[in-house]
Symmetry: C2
Subunit: 737 residues, 2 copies
């Protein structure tokens, strides 16, 4: 058991510096890897507001209004910015993706759709040329080779350049970003994650990565981009720059806006913030900001209108039939079970892949890895028909019901080819599971949502086809009695089964519930089918939780990266009390009042890296003093020749000896530290950490210090059943801050 | 200042009785007017679960599953039940309402729609007869007199019987019920509020009240009915019957289902629970239950299909134009301001009416009052054309855009009659404001949502008509440049202005935000117009909050009824600490360890009605002992002849004198009481009460008791700026429990 104790991961690096001139209200600038002190930040904000309110006359009235105006400015600009970025990325991805197949004859920078926009419906578009047409290659074999060569090599070029960009300029732009955002919203400090460079590289790299056809989506990274924007914008205003808590409330709104743009789902964004990021808690004001940001972002996206449909709904479901039959619950619950199991498997595979990557030679050659995987992905995708198109297009086709008036995508609606279709769909899903498990974690921006939806949609469509086939084969069976007797009327809608499959798979991988249902229903516009979606999501979540007690892929990555984040789970103890959780007095480093000299305390500070120390007077708890305040207060006395070095320090005001012989440090004491008795239920201790974002709780019995619980103790308690905690902790990268 | 201190309102009546045989984990049955101890209830639940888990073999595995199954059974049955009830009430209301105008020739129990269902579209329906046709009254004047007589007298009969039912059988079935539900979900105990009788009377009374044409809606009462159902169902299972905290979690889900049925808005229900009831807090599990209940309820309602449209959307907005122009923000923000101001005025009028009712002779004649008001309402409604139809029909008509292919409701679309229409709409709104302010609070079930929507829709439509008229008069003005040049194309959609007006008015009255937007958008299906709705809601809320710092009509009623409920507002102190909030030691009644005899304690219990007492030993805080435990423990020694009466009681185990001379009560002490230092910010104290549903916090300094804050102190702190706190407290009614 050599894994580092989580405490070391974030308490060791915590060396704030005091910026404020007074010791009473220090505006601490936190270093990377530390956790902000929410209570302190809120107290600072309170003091700032009071100072502004106390201004005389019109200033006192106007200043609070300006504060609010600045806040809304950041919220609205973030929403607007991410809406534009999302729309612009969609166009860029479309153009890059089309480039892998051909180019427009009259201009290089046109996508296939804009190139053919002047062509009347029904006519063939002659302006768009495939590469063989454009280069004038005649023989069919040569054409085919050229096409596959361009297809694969452009994929490699796109993915490779994305990886180079990420590796060289912004290593934190890799991956989805949602685990980091969850940790940051919980109070973790990770400056490099939200810089303008990260924003720029993540956006460009994301477009390249998606266009390369790798098995990844843009949803999570868009949330990251939105948070970068909010962070950059908020840094323009002192009220947010100097207060990490206020800044985080803006980031929460930005995250909601990111989801809103990613799925065209403003409500889904708010509920994502609520459920997955667990940040709005009781603060309806923050939720409201998230709602405004989401709505602004959705409207901006609609204004850009990247798909030329002037619709927010990405995968419009053609509501073949508005009704569904009771027997369909059987395949739907089955899909839920499949989603739960496969989701757990995907998480486990992804963890194994990440651990292998870290321990093998691949760790040193991330760009080569990306190039290799993108080549393999492109080659396989080119061979398996369903995965040749971009995943979003595949999903849209799978969600579509069969309709004689529309183009039949790859013969999916051909009833005689049922078994072939089912085989192909399952094969595609299997390939995508393996590719996704590997891809999610490589050195490129990558979201997990879209690949998961694609896997689920393939399986769902397959189950739908099977059910439909069963109905066609045995139309008179009692189970199908509720179907219309006329076989030409549709009874089973395989397109909707694809939606169900996608929901179930998403629930299995992310373990989200309500926000998923809302996102899915906003994504497809299928209001009438909310109940089946809910049932499959619920089943998948239950099955997934039963199979892997990991809390979803984001929680797994947070644990692997070793971020100090408290899962919002309802922790249930077995009758234990806080006493079992706390570090008892014997193992604490405490400062004894009136006993230690300045030199002693200096030694103490050098020997121990804790964030602060309890001060006691013969076991009686006096208060808590942070290392930063102590270091600054001691600095003047530390010179070798200073006689004060050997004076004793007194922290309590009711000192017994005279003041000349002592150094009064009583102003350093934070008395407003939460104290509990050791016999409170463990559950309550955990829940206090969760609800108040605490860093520590002191335990006292009748005024005597008996122990202390820090955030890291609670984090390790809640993540103890995951074996790879901190396996991917950014070890040597810590210096990036 | 003779108003009772809130403490008296609910601490005085708190006399629980111990049911459990052991003193360690008493399953207290709470009496009416008390507040449940959430921490204790959670601890009991924890213990119950542990006992069940500890069962050997299959039982240990199955019992937790049964628990979950029972919980879901209650949730789903509640959703199903309220969906059916809602649909059934709709039909009943329609029938009763139609009865005021005529009857079906071939059957008394047919509504107009079902009576005419066999008639082909375009043909006149001859089966439905007005009363004059049915009774064969010829002369026009006689017809008119008969119609108005039946219209008014049936209104009086309906409203009167509703009032009689409520007054005689279930006084708590009056009003909306949402204030009580908010208090109950916060921990208040009010048994009579959730009985089968209340359920039955509220449902029947609601149908009668709505059909009488009084200015009231069915939304709030439906939430009440849903909560009654959940309460009754949960009483079948011991796990909920014996645990008030678990039961309240089910009630929260039921409330969401109620909203879902009231508005056909499953998502709105969840968000209502989230925002207005503030109960799901961090517990995503409870939120998920609410979601399931909402969805089941919506599907059941759809299955009943009371309107024969197989649609959930109540007021379908015909999306005349999907786009809106920037200049329209001016009328919309204006509507927001109007909504905010008028909402505050409505609240103030309602408060004045309620206070007047209480202090005047009306207090003793509630049924007569209802009869009088219903007669006046019916007479006025019969005269003012827009209010003659039921409010829901009026709203549907106002939300409708003008369309040459459809019937023009009362000439609203006639451009030459603009001023007449605007005058009539404003008059209708004004009348409805006055009637609603009086009606909401009478002795009948009454919701505030629908009247508010109707008022807002009238004003919104009026503003829309004015804007449209302005555009028609000056089509070339620069402000209308964004409109299509062709005047026959619609630029301004007055129907949508009605939606905006309704949103603004609702926000002004209820001060809800997100859930309102979601409800409105689910109610109308106007996804494309979410942003304007949001802007008007936000404006109205800001303006309303600036005008009246009351927190909306529900908060006002909670305060007037004197319920111990903490508003979820972000309380901001001005640098004060807990010391300013607490009752200092001098004013507390404490028990001194080893000092008081059994007789002393008995006197103490008789003299003071507090829920419990801190135990100290020379200022040192030892723990808290509740009056109920103490009373039971003392009972055996209290007989006059018992020599133990004069023995001293010891609460600490480290007793100094020998055990024979003392009575050991150390097992009674609750040590797990939250302790804080007096110098924590006041804000944090309030927020701890809000987040943990605490009943008290003890303040200690270095182990010494310095003060105590109880829930009532915090409630009075948060409601101090409302002058009529507890003005309507159910004084003599307390004995109802």
């Amino acid at each position: 058991m050599t894994r580092p104790h989580p405490a070391e991961l974030f308490e060791l690096t915590e060396n704030g510096q005091l910026l404020s001139p007074t010791l009473q209200t220090p505006a601490l600038r936190y270093l990377d890897g530390s956790i902000i002190d929410w209570l302190q930040e809120e107290a600072n904000e309170r003091e700032r507001i009071n100072i502004r309110r106390a201004q005389h006359g019109v200033r006192g009235l106007l200043l609070p209004w300006f504060d609010a105006a600045r806040m809304w400015l950041v919220v609205i600009l973030t929403g607007f910015g991410i809406g534009l970025t999302g729309g612009w990325l969609d166009v860029l991805v479309k153009w890059l993706g089309d480039l892998r197949e051909g180019r427009c004859s009259y201009g290089f920078f046109y996508t296939q759709v804009t190139c053919c926009s002047s062509v009347k419906p029904g006519e063939a578009c002659t302006e768009w040329r495939t590469w063989s047409e454009f280069l004038g290659v005649g023989p069919v074999l040569a054409q085919s080779l050229l096409h596959s060569f361009v297809y694969v090599s452009l994929a490699v070029v796109f993915a490779g350049s994305a990886a180079v960009l990420v590796k060289s300029y912004a290593p934190y732009a890799f991956h989805t970003g949602i685990p980091e955002i969850k940790a940051i919203l919980g109070g973790y400090v990770l400056t490099a994650f939200l810089t303008p460079w990260t924003l720029f590289i993540k956006a460009i790299g994301l477009a390249l990565a998606v266009a390369s056809g790798l098995s990844l989506g843009k949803e999570g990274p868009l949330v990251h981009v939105a948070c970068c924007m909010a962070n950059i914008l908020s840094d323009f205003f002192k009220q947010f720059r100097n207060n990490e808590a206020q800044k985080r409330k803006l980031l929460a709104a930005a995250a909601a806006a990111g989801v809103s743009v990613a799925f065209g789902s403003p409500l889904g964004g708010v509920l994502f913030g609520l459920e997955e990021l667990a940040t709005f808690a009781n603060e309806s004001e923050v939720m409201w900001r998230g709602f405004v940001a989401s709505a602004v972002a959705a409207v901006s996206l609609q204004w850009v209108d990247p798909f030329g449909t002037s619709k927010l709904v990405l995968f419009q479901v053609t509501n073949g039939s508005d009704t569904w039959r009771a027997f369909e619950l059987i395949p739907w619950v089955t899909l839920g079970v499949i989603g739960g199991i496969l989701g757990s498997i995907l998480i486990k595979l992804n963890v194994e892949a990440a651990l292998y990557r870290r321990s093998s030679a691949l760790n040193d050659w991330p760009v080569l890895e990306v190039i290799g995987v993108s080549a393999i992905t492109a080659a396989i995708s080119y061979l398996v028909v369903f995965s040749r198109v971009q995943a979003s297009e595949l999903v849209a086709n799978l969600f579509q019901e069969c309709d004689p008036t529309k183009i039949d995508y790859h013969g999916l609606c051909n009833p005689t080819a049922m078994w072939e279709n089912v085989f192909l769909l399952v094969l595609t899903a299997a390939i995508k599971v393996l590719l996704t498990a590997w891809t999610f974690g490589m050195m490129i921006p990558a979201g997990i949502f879209l690949p998961t939806i694609a896997i689920g949609a393939c399986l769902g469509r397959a189950v739908g086809l099977l059910t439909q086939g069963l109905h066609r084969a045995y139309p008179k069976a009692w189970i199908f009695l509720s179907c219309p007797p006329d076989l030409s009327m549709r009874c089973v809608s395989p397109g909707f089964y694809a939606v169900i499959g996608a929901s179930a798979m998403l629930a299995g991988v992310t373990r989200m519930t309500i926000s998923l249902v809302v996102i899915l229903f906003e994504l497809t516009g299928a209001l009438s089918h909310v109940l089946p979606i809910m049932i499959s999501v619920m089943t998948a979540k239950w099955v997934g939780d039963a199979f892997g007690k990991d809390g979803g892929i984001y929680a797994v990555w947070i644990a692997m990266r070793g971020y100090p984040w408290l899962p919002p789970t309802n922790f249930r103890d077995n009758g234990e009390t806080g006493a079992q959780l706390m570090q008892p007095l014997e193992r604490l480093v405490v400062i004894e009042d009136e006993q230690e000299t300045v030199a002693d305390l200096d030694t103490l500070l050098n020997d121990h890296n804790f964030h602060g120390f309890p001060v006691v007077r013969r076991q009686e708890f006096l208060g808590f003093v942070t290392r930063d305040k102590l270091r600054i207060a001691l600095a003047p006395y530390l010179a070798e020749e200073n006689a004060d070095r050997l004076k004793r320090c007194v922290f309590s005001q009711r000192s017994s000896t005279s003041a000349e012989e002592q150094i009064d440090l009583s102003s350093l004491i934070e008395e407003a530290v939460l104290q509990l008795r050791p016999d409170v239920p463990k559950e309550l201790v955990v829940s206090m950490f969760q609800k108040f974002n605490l860093r520590r709780i002191i335990f006292t019995t009748r005024g005597k210090l008996t122990g202390m619980v820090t955030l890291s103790d609670v984090v390790s308690l809640l993540t103890c059943n995951f074996p790879h905690t901190a396996a991917l902790a950014p070890g040597e990268r810590r210096s990036w801050g």
